[in-house]
């Protein structure tokens, strides 16, 4: 499943559907996380209020993002943090490579960060001759296997323990085992040496508090604490949308994020980092550098519908709830952010040209909206992006496979729905001829159909039209009374 791209989503999805091991793993993971999330949410009496408050805070932040960013930066700078601004991924990577080179860094430890996955930081660092080790267990496995994450919270969800054991035997030289505890302790022992030797630690950021300049990072394993405590230099990479106004707001987000992600009331560790250490002899890095990444985010502020995408706190709940993700997993989306939120973020980050299949990778069932802790209306966003594809994008995108036919079909449908006589006529014609395709009381796969109609009927059964329409029944009932 390496090197798939969003452009080939339809083919990726087909390949994933044929992979029974992958689908089994996805079924286990998504149903388990779904159940845990529900139980955790029900454990709080004010879950809905928390969601509303969280969204209100995010809306406030996004509508005044420039002010909150200025506050956050000036507070953190006053406490010794250094800020670097990156308009896109390449600029962020260049900044980090330069910081590493200036400090003669040879070895870097990294904790999980979707933002650095987005910029493909590891590729850039390796090209610059700097060794970089992922330290989150799932990310470490993925890095050893030279793959990409398939889930925001559980990156190696697609791999079985047998595959991981084989990988460890091959790469780390341990005797074959299928004991998860042994595999975990092997990773612990191997990575301890890396932590001890690393010059720089690179982390992501979950929340940046404007009023105090504090960076907050959540985790379960302890690798983020090690990454941000042991090396002499800490570089944190943060999307510009990750600001919250007040320290007290963390109460709400720390209740929502772990419960939505893994069903925990709190993850094992929350690190609150405010600037650099106060005394030279204190534990912790000498320098804190924060790289602020735009990479298409500021553009999303320009419309209330697309702006919602920036409220996302990367919990992964919508992945687990999505009937499409549940079947195909993360790799098929061909980008860092999979699932429903990926289907709306990826096209906005990368442009619709290369991602136009993604907004259609949804049945618009609304499960994602139901579980989203910050109430992002993902179906509305999907429809908005579909609208952009059919109305506003380049002719190349508009005329892509299926789009012309789709537009024609909806034009005809509109014509019909606006004219009662046309609607009646088409229903009568349909009733007259449906006998040709109805078998066993349903319209199944019709071999004589071609094009979109064939595609439609090969995937689903339709109910035939009733012999008498509602309008006819209504008219005759009115006659009786």
């Amino acid at each position: 499943m390496n090197h798939v791209t969003s452009e080939t989503f339809d083919e990726n999805a087909k390949a994933a559907l044929a992979d029974s091991q992958l689908r089994g793993a996805l079924r286990n993971a998504t149903s388990l996380f779904g159940k845990r999330r529900l139980a955790a949410a029900q454990g709080l009496t004010n879950w809905e209020d928390l969601r509303t408050q969280a969204r209100a805070i995010k809306d406030d932040v996004l509508l005044h993002l420039d002010q909150y960013l200025e506050n956050f930066v000036s507070q953190a700078e006053a406490r010794g943090a250094k800020f670097h601004w990156a308009r896109d991924g390449a600029e962020a990577n260049a900044i980090i490579c330069r910081l590493a080179a200036e400090r003669n860094a040879r070895s870097i430890v990294k904790s999980k960060s979707m933002t650095t996955e987005e910029t493909h930081l590891n590729v850039a660092l390796e090209a610059a001759g700097i060794q970089v080790i992922e330290t989150d267990l799932g990310e470490y496995i993925i890095q050893l296997a030279e793959e990409t994450p398939s889930h925001i919270i559980v990156p190696a969800i697609h791999k079985t323990k047998r595959q991981i054991a084989e990988l460890f035997t091959q790469e780390l030289g341990i005797p074959p085992t299928d004991d998860v505890a042994k595999l975990t302790s092997t990773a612990r022992a191997t990575l301890r040496d890396r932590f001890a030797a690393a010059d720089i630690g690179i982390s992501g950021v979950n929340f940046g508090v404007a009023e105090t300049g504090t960076i907050v990072i959540l985790e379960n394993e302890g690798n983020i604490r090690l990454t941000t405590s042991l090396p002499r230099f800490h570089i944190a990479v943060m999307g510009i949308e990750k600001v919250v106004p007040r320290f007290a707001d963390l109460d709400i987000f720390l209740k929502l994020l772990p419960r939505s992600g893994t069903g925990q009331r709190l993850t094992t560790y929350q690190s609150f980092i405010t600037g650099t250490k106060q005394n030279a002899f204190d534990d912790g890095p000498e320098e804190l550098h924060v790289v602020m990444l735009d990479n298409g985010r500021s553009r999303m502020l320009a419309h209330p519908v697309t702006r919602q995408s920036l409220a996302c706190i990367r919990c992964g709940a919508c992945l687990n709830a999505c009937p499409v993700y549940q079947q195909i997993g993360g790799h098929a989306y061909g980008s860092v952010y999979p699932g429903p939120i990926g289907a709306v973020i990826t096209p906005q980050l990368m442009g619709l040209e290369k991602t136009q299949q993604l907004p259609y990778a949804s049945s618009l069932c609304g499960a994602c909206r139901e579980v989203c802790p910050v109430k992002i209306d993902i179906p509305r966003l999907l429809l908005h992006l579909r609208g952009e594809i059919t109305e506003k994008s380049s002719p190349e995108v508009q005329q892509a496979k299926g789009r012309t036919m789709e537009r024609f079909a909806f034009k005809m449908w509109r014509l019909m729905m606006l004219r009662p006589w046309a609607y009646n006529l088409s229903a009568r014609v349909g009733r007259l001829f449906q006998g040709l395709v109805v078998k066993d009381g349903k319209i199944g796969r019709v071999k004589s159909f071609v094009g979109p109609l064939a595609a439609w009927t090969s995937g689903r059964d339709l109910r035939p039209l009733d012999q008498k329409s509602f309008r006819d029944k209504w008219a005759s009932d009115q006659g009786k009374s």
Partner: protein, 236 residues
């Protein structure tokens, strides 16, 4: 050079943010779903006075639910006894517990000196390069959160950042009177400080992962064992 390009990028990003927000003004006016900022005060409950004994019980219950060990004691000499029992027990396991590191709190050092066990190495707040050589780290916890079984480690109060993290066993001593009921109360207290501490860590149980086939494994990168000794300080 770099300074200037950093300034340029910053300017460009802020310009883009302001431009986009200005462009969406008209649309925002029509957007009925736009929520308005909630007041922080509305959801930060004031510090309700709870009965200490019930907070201690709640803390213990929630800590044990996430695989932490909790020992409730009543006096300072009980703390010494509890430390003795924990270390003595661990010395019989693969964790050995022969090399002990403590935070730089002088009281912790005094307490551990009273513990009558055989120890190979003892150090106060070892550095990043030394701290890997210890089996047990002993620190204070500056506060506890009862409803989640969480420890609040504030590294401006003692050097506990590495000692609580790197050794495979972490033993924390917590005064019962510093346990609060909710996360919100703990955050409010941390915020009240004149300056927010440079590094605060919330710890809920030992390190864990479920990254391999969703099977829970305890002790990945952080401590594999977490012991909390809650002292009710009844002698005073």
């Amino acid at each position: 050079m770099e300074e200037r390009s950093n300034r340029n990028s910053r300017e460009a990003i802020f310009e883009s943010i302001r431009g986009a927000l200005a462009a969406s003004k008209v649309l925002d006016a029509k957007e009925s779903e736009l929520h308005h900022a909630a007041e922080a005060a509305a959801y930060l409950q004031p510090g309700i006075k709870h009965d200490v004994a019930s907070l201690v019980e709640l803390f213990k219950e929630n800590l044990e639910a996430v695989d932490g060990h909790c020992i409730i004691v009543e006096t300072r000499s009980d703390v010494v006894q509890a430390l003795y029992e924990i270390i003595n027990k661990l010395q019989g396991t693969y964790l050995k517990a022969k090399r002990i590191a403590v935070s730089d709190s002088s009281e912790i050092e005094r307490l551990v000196n009273l513990v009558d066990v055989d120890v190979d190495t003892f150090a106060v707040a070892p550095t990043a390069s030394e701290v890997f050589n210890f089996d047990v780290g002993i620190t204070y916890a500056q506060a506890g959160i009862a409803e989640t079984g969480t420890l609040v480690l504030d590294s401006s109060r003692e050097r506990n950042r590495l000692v609580s993290l790197v050794p495979p066993v972490h033993i924390a001593i917590l005064n019962a009177s510093s346990i609060v009921q909710t996360l919100g109360e703990a955050l409010a207290t941390l915020r009240q400080a004149e300056e927010v501490s440079p590094i605060i860590t919330l710890v809920t149980g030992p390190s864990r992962t479920a990254d391999i086939e969703l099977t829970l494994a305890i002790g990945v990168h952080g401590p594999q064992e977490l012991y909390v000794i809650v002292n009710k300080n009844l002698e005073e």
